[in-house]
Symmetry: C2
Subunit: 467 residues, 2 copies
């Protein structure tokens, strides 16, 4: 094949190739160039994986002057011979026959030089940080986890449903909402009494960004059996923490005919499968994060796949916490919501494995959860993970129309706005269950990163919607 | 195994089972009940597939009185023996030994009775329509196509990136945008000159819902090589048509080192793969839609997988249209944008197969498309499908910083807002390409439905954000 017909090979594929001593064409970005007056070594990365390809440029063919634009961050196309590597650290390398600079990167201006840049600073240049080892690894793992989610559900007969992002209801009460509008902000139309006339807004009423697809997911489960959502959700909370985002992705399976036991079985198998998938498909990226940021990462991931989760009721957990020797900042008593310190004590100190807590007091849980026979607790479940706390929250849903309406009245949830939700209980109701997994929480756990702003490409938080 | 330990089997799995004469437990919704004084036949569906399971209830065991709540739409759990079917239309049936009603559906109130309900009316009850054959089929096909998208890209080394939904830029100009805000609508804070003070808004400036993830996708491609987005996008256009939604899902791959030719090859292979996947995995649902709505559906789908797409330039297409015998409503001349009637003439009459048009006049395309050498056209490509018109729009991107800035100035796109986008051309720029596929357009094509509001679970359009 003539050289100009040669097709590019991805570096990841070259590095594992056993078909050596052939001409190849690679394209990518220069991570480093070093060498001496006899030979220059260019470390090339094209994003296909963590590892770089070593390109060897002989000084006879490539005098240093000819490589002056081959600097960190520049983009080059290299033709050459794929050969066994002479050096350590890689099996193969490319002996360059031609090097074409596709795009330069002025060393005075390009921010990602060889020296390490702090994660804080990289957040300011989120448009470039995917070019670093760390964010390349995080984003590849994020991809793998997202694919594993779809693959798991597809294999298990769940249907993916796209629940609406813009919603006319704000009834779920899961959090503060962003308003979506096309009304002119300066002088919105007003009704006779002077209030803003939302009947003139795009949707003819006030609309918001969704905080959860669960209610619509339940509608779909009552028709398709097992469904899941995987989409963006939003919270307009003024939380400037390492754990909160204003925009994040959520996975919400919902299953007809599942009781709380089935729900726990699914949540445990699902989480173990996702972590196992990452361990199997992201070995190099996980090893890098383990070595660079968190020496216990791989061990912690294996602790998820290797242990059955501990299951106990909220009431049992409160007893354990009350008799614990540890002094907690927040006192525990039956009826109080558990704090992160309590959850982490149970997971990290007491049981030393993931925990599923069930049957919480109804007062601290949502209106749609199924009442237990005692009338005091509901069939809720929270899955608690080491270092993370709650990673999944779910429940069996209240399928009885009368009981659900009673709970909604008690909790001041307007039944008229949710007429369509109540219809599922009015027509062919069935026991059903579901849960929500915050995708970034999962990525945080699997990558071992500590700030949630570092596991989503372009984080949204108070005063920040850059890029 | 004692009967109360028996686990539910999905109907789809039972219908294809060869392990007969065993006790099974099925749960689902009653589609119909009919029969005589000796025997009753219940058609049961649990959403796992289109087909219903026939449950046979012998009158000796189940006097008609005992089945009075087993009406259309009710939810039942049935135990019985799985046996070869005596009747036509199914291989197996269940001889019921017990029938438990989990949820009733008052025949006076339940809207989905046996008689056909119009698609228009079903839009009003979108919370129940997934229980119909039509919407069950559409939603299962939608799921299959979404999975096929992820599977295709994962197999081909593309990474899924979640680009932001809330954006601080409105620079792309792809359409009118929804504003996202937490400012009080009645009395927003104002600056000294009386205008609304967006520095007090949640993100410290005016923000909108994204119209495309492309620009952020390009950032990721310049690091990870090949990426794709698959997320919701929004248009605040007051279009009350069968082709427009205010909220829809978009797939946008973006590839470093791809030129226009590579881009076309990818688009063609991608679309053919998706249609082939649906033909292979959704045979029963597609057959139903073919038989019920559109007798040419399957043939049209096979025309996609069996034909190479016709590729030609915009200029060549204009020549064909100008010499066509057909009278068009809108006249064609070089430089005008093609209308739906022109696109469909090319696809359905002239070439009788999918068409890829390339190299459009720069004036009718976006600022980021790569200029051709002639300075008049850009490396755009539109993929045109029968019955649909444009299903994909894409281009090679302008990778030259100077030329891109020139185009932005000509088209009044503010460069200061897009500093981060320009940085991709400033640092290690590379030839790259990408395209956008409107997911609902694809589902519309594959299902043969004619109104886009019928291929998304909960459509958003002017004056409608119900459910």
């Amino acid at each position: 094949m003539p050289a100009d017909q040669l097709r590019r090979t991805r570096i990841q594929d070259l590095l594992t190739s056993t078909d050596l001593n052939r001409e190849v064409l690679v394209k990518g970005w220069v991570r480093t160039r070093r060498g001496n007056k006899y030979v220059q070594f260019i470390a090339l990365n094209d994003g296909s994986g963590l590892a770089t390809l070593q390109v060897v440029a002989d000084a006879e063919k490539f005098p240093e002057e000819s490589l002056k634009e081959v600097t960190t961050g520049s983009c080059v196309a290299v033709r050459g011979l794929l050969v066994p590597s002479q050096g350590k650290g890689q099996a193969v390398e490319v002996q360059a026959s031609s090097i074409e600079v596709l795009g330069t990167a002025d060393p005075e201006a390009y921010p990602l030089q060889k020296k390490a840049t702090s994660l804080e600073h990289l957040r300011e240049i989120a448009h470039l940080r995917p070019r670093t080892n760390t964010f390349g690894a995080v984003l590849r793992i994020r991809h793998a986890l997202a694919f594993a989610v779809h693959d798991y559900f597809n294999r298990h007969g769940f249907y993916y449903v796209h629940t609406p992002i813009i919603t006319g209801s704000d009834a779920e009460g899961a959090g503060q909402m962003f308003r979506v509008t096309t009304l002119p902000p300066e002088h919105p139309p007003r009704t006779e009494d002077g209030s803003v006339d939302f009947s003139e807004d795009f949707f003819g009423k006030q609309t918001n960004l969704t905080v959860s697809g669960q209610l619509e997911g339940e509608l779909a489960a009552m028709a398709l059996g097992q469904v899941y959502t995987f989409g963006p959700t939003f919270r307009a909370e003024n939380s400037n923490t390492a754990r909160h985002l204003a925009e994040f992705w959520m996975i919400e399976p919902e299953m007809a005919f599942y009781d709380l036991q089935d729900n726990m079985d699914l949540a445990e198998d699902f989480l173990q499968s996702l972590v196992r998938y990452a361990l199997e498909h992201c070995a190099a990226d996980l090893q890098f994060l383990n070595d660079t940021y968190d020496k216990e990462l791989l061990e912690r991931l294996r602790s998820i796949t290797d242990n059955a989760f501990q299951r106990l009721t909220y009431t049992e957990a409160v007893e354990i916490l009350k008799s614990a020797k540890k002094k907690f900042e927040f006192p525990v008593d039956w009826g109080t919501d558990l704090q992160s310190e309590h959850e982490r004590y149970l997971v990290e100190k007491h049981f030393k494995k993931p925990v599923i807590l069930t049957n919480y007091p109804k007062e601290i849980k949502a209106f749609y959860m199924k009442l237990d026979e005692d009338g005091r607790t509901v069939r809720a479940m929270d899955v608690l993970f080491p270092g993370i706390g709650e990673i999944i929250g779910g429940s069996q849903r209240e399928e009885d129309l009368g009981k659900l309406e009673g709970r909604m009245a008690e909790m001041h949830v307007p039944t008229d706005e949710l007429w369509w939700y109540l219809d599922t209980r009015r027509f062919g109701t069935a026991p059903h269950s579901g849960f929500g997994l915050g995708f970034e929480r999962l990525v945080l756990f699997v990558t071992g990163m500590t700030n949630i702003r570092d596991v989503i490409p372009f984080p949204r938080f108070p005063k920040n919607a850059e890029f």
